[in-house]
């Protein structure tokens, strides 16, 4: 059991087509660490299903008492979060973009 921090790089698609697979993968990751960091740099496609997955992940993390943070938000993700008024939902330092 590794109780330390774990960083997972997300793929390019955070959409309805990917959420079923991502759900299983993220559940596994969450079960194996106490501090999950998602690197969102590669996320090029995002939709509401993808955002819903992130919200559900956050809920699960709170439920499990696990830390969750998102880093290196891609422009697409930032745009989507902003549109949905979720800027502060994940409490992440997303105001500092990974790159522009």
């Amino acid at each position: 059991m590794n109780a330390g921090q774990r960083t997972v790089a997300m793929g390019d698609s955070l959409t309805i087509y990917a959420v079923a697979e991502l759900r299983n993968k993220l559940l596994q990751e969450l079960a194996t660490c106490r501090d999950l960091v998602l690197d969102m740099d590669a996320v090029a496609e995002v939709d509401a299903a993808g955002l819903q997955l992130l919200v559900a992940l956050k809920h699960q993390a709170l439920f499990d008492g696990c830390e969750l943070s998102l880093v290196n938000h891609s422009a697409e993700l930032r745009q989507a979060l902003e549109l949905f008024g979720l800027n502060s939902f994940f409490g992440d330092p997303q105001l500092i973009p990974a790159k522009e």
Binding site: T15, I16, Y17, A44
Partner: protein, 122 residues
């Protein structure tokens, strides 16, 4: 990254009109002349939106949408059906098959684009 729209219609002129309007609005366009041609061209290549006529030779719009919605590669792809007012039953059939958006023929390019924008951002 430009979003891709597939236009399926057996009328070349209509396809062209729609394509011109879409390209003008910044979308990439793939054209197909009927349902089976569309499925062949789609393959594993996902598009962001499908615009399909109802009455077409070989494979009509309804069968095409049914096939599309059963394909795990494409089942969440939004579909706009091009219907005519006289095809109320077809519209219901298309909706049941999974085409939840429609544009009534004849339509103006702006109407078409408006419908597209309601489904996918440019």
């Amino acid at each position: 990254m430009a979003k891709t729209v597939m236009v399926v219609d057996d009328s070349i002129s209509l396809r062209q009109v729609v394509s011109i309007a879409l390209r003008g609005a910044g979308y990439a366009v793939v054209e197909a002349c009927d349902g089976s041609d569309a499925l062949k061209k789609l393959g594993s290549q996902r598009v962001n939106l499908v615009i399909s006529d109802v009455n077409m030779p070989n494979m009509d719009g309804i069968s095409f949408v049914k096939a599309l919605k059963q394909d795990p590669q494409h089942r969440f792809t939004p579909v706009i059906m091009l219907t005519t007012e006289a095809e109320a039953a077809k519209k219901a059939e298309g909706q049941a098959a999974g085409a939840k958006a429609w544009v009534v023929k004849p339509f103006q390019p702006a109407q078409m684009l408006d419908a597209v924008k309601k489904l996918i951002a440019a």
